[in-house]
């Protein structure tokens, strides 16, 4: 299972960011989302989607084993995390996020809530 990104279809509405923070933190706070949409304007006028692509680099670099592969999706075990942010620095996609109120990294766990609200096909579920 994976999240399929098609940035050329992204319109920057950020419904994905909203639903992500609601689902995982029970609040509307796009800064706590595990996906980040950024605009590239005025030129070339496209959006960039940053979200985990399951490369597992973070699992390898985590010194405490706080990041695990749970049936193909990332799980962060908050109690094991020492907030060293090695994972954030090593993520090739820049897709691990931190928020000052949260003492562990925010990483996509493939819940696919975002796919439900995306109306353009920029985010879809793939095998």
């Amino acid at each position: 299972m994976r999240l399929v990104l098609q940035p050329e279809k992204c319109t920057g509405c950020r419904l994905c960011e909203q639903i992500c923070s609601i689902h995982h933190f029970h609040e509307t706070n796009t800064k706590k989302a595990a996906i980040r949409i950024s605009g590239m304007f005025p030129d070339p006028g496209h959006y960039r989607q940053q979200v985990c692509n399951q490369c597992w680099t973070c699992i390898e670099v985590c010194p405490t084993g706080a990041i695990v592969n749970q049936e193909g999706a990332i799980q962060v075990i908050a109690e094991e995390c020492i907030a060293c942010w090695e994972c954030v620095e090593s993520c090739p996609e820049g897709a691990i996020f931190v928020h000052e109120e949260i003492d562990y990294p925010i990483i996509c766990d493939l819940c696919f809530e975002c796919v439900e609200v995306c109306n353009t096909g920029a985010l879809t579920r793939g095998e």
Binding site: C13, I19, F25, T28, G39, P44, N119, T120
Partner: protein, 639 residues
Amino acid sequence: MQYGFAGSVLRVDLTRGSIEKHPLSDELARNWLGARGIVARTLWEEVPLDADPLGPENRFVVATGVMTGHFVPAGSKCGFGAISPATNSHHDASMGGHFGPELKAAGYDYIVIQGISPKPVYLFIEDDQVELRPADTVWGLGSIDTEARLKNELGESFQIATIGPAGENQVHFACISHDFGRQAGRGGLGAVMGSKKLKAIAVRGTHAIPVKELDVLKEGTKAVIQRTKTHPNMAPWQRYGTSMFVGWANERGCYPTRNFQSSYFEGWEKVDGPVLKEELWVNDKACFGCWMNCGKYSRTTKEGRYDAFVEGPEYETTALCGGSCGIGDLRDVAYANYLCDNLGLDTISGGSTVAFAMECFQRGILTSADLDGREIQFGSIDDFEYLVRKIATREGIGALLADGTRQAAMKLGGDALKYAIQVKGLEHSGYESRSLPANLLGFMTADIGAHHNRSWAVTVDLELGRDNISGKAKHVVYLQHIRPLWDILSICRLFYGEIDVLLEDTTASLRAITGWDISEEEQLRIAERVFNLTRAIFLLRNGGPGRQHDIPSRRHWEDPVPTGPEAGKHLTREAIDLLLDEYYQARGWDGDGHPRREVLEDLGLADVADRLEAVGLLGKTMPWPVPSTRGEMMKPAAM
């Protein structure tokens, strides 16, 4: 803590360089809900009636609404307001994009800015860190260039609202720009920022906005998304956005052409939506929380002449910078759009002012001696560029035109005022209305001047017969409540109008967000409260009788439409008065267009009635009673 709101207010005095934080008033939140409600109340309480719109006493208000930033249909909106230099009255403009949600995430429901800074500054906000920073590096830059520069310096996640050179030079139709193509466009609010030496506001926030019942809100909005994804209007809106109405308006003979001389633009097919999509389109662009993505991002090129990125052109821009300026090549229209955006000019009043100058030249009111030897013509993008650059810098002919068509016409004298297509100093939106009396009535009576965001009643005319005058006013009143209500709530009204997101849906969202049980009827009364308050501000600042300010250009009854499907049509002066008579009656105002005490007290505005009465502007007793419900929704005819 009040659910739904951020809870704090910023007050900035630019003269003193001071910034204060205050708690949000519960009374203000509950009775006015946000955005233009907060703007109107703030202007009413704080701006002296004789204050210069471009002086230190005017307040520049940036106000989110109760639904801004929430998981609701396009909770993207942010209200901007001040006393307008164009109309000398309350003005507010509603802007989409991402600015409002970011301001609320930083912890602020609204900002009130007064005074004049000794030097150009921008307001920096990152959660609790709020400061005035020097704007030396961006003062003088275009809006698009300023936003790019500030995002580069501060980070992409900052949201920027900025003015361009036109705002700095206090052009009366200078806009505020954001997100490379969203604007608080009308009423010259950019000039108010410029007068205060405030170049921009940059904001980033990391907080949640409290919600009473988040699970209810989440499931409710997800259901609305699923329901509307397959609405028949969804696909065309996603594909073309507002540009698809170019053909629609021309086929019905209501497209402004050569400064509203005609209502049909021959060759309109070349500036219609499909051309935009097939030849200029780069990407779709949505505001925060919107799944309809009507924004179209474009690139316009003409070899050896221009190469520019621009959001749009939207329908209104094609109407005023296209048809009304006689420009029939969409690449040129998109370039005109880019010029206005980067100079910081409203494309509606900007296009209309250029078109006014072109007609004045056509009729010999302006001559080449006024225009550096040029002979300006409808259809010329070169003349368009010449004029808007002059306007933005107030050089040459620009000094005359920069105050808008009404003031320019009054200086020019003669017949010029007939060619200024405006009401109360605000130029008409893009619908030629000689055979759309209800729509014209909406323009005539809008509190801020001739703008479609208060009432767009074209469908009322189509449904009830375009030649009919009587029986339409009550529907215009309803539209003037329901449409501004979306601005007050701060969600995009296009969901309501186009894909059947109902007041019933958003009322459920409002209840889940705030815990308040505010009925649909009460929400409409809040919109009516705001409308009557802003009418009172207008009357107190501009004098009575109100009726004299509600009369459009006499072209509407003197000149028949020359071409197109509505050729030969025109209104009469008597029809204009009949429209107003029925309208004032439907509102419970008197025959001069002054609100009566019963209405004001019913809306909780007894203090407003007192102030009007003190200067003889309170509505007189009339033979007709004040209706208990003002405004009536038009029910579509049975299928």
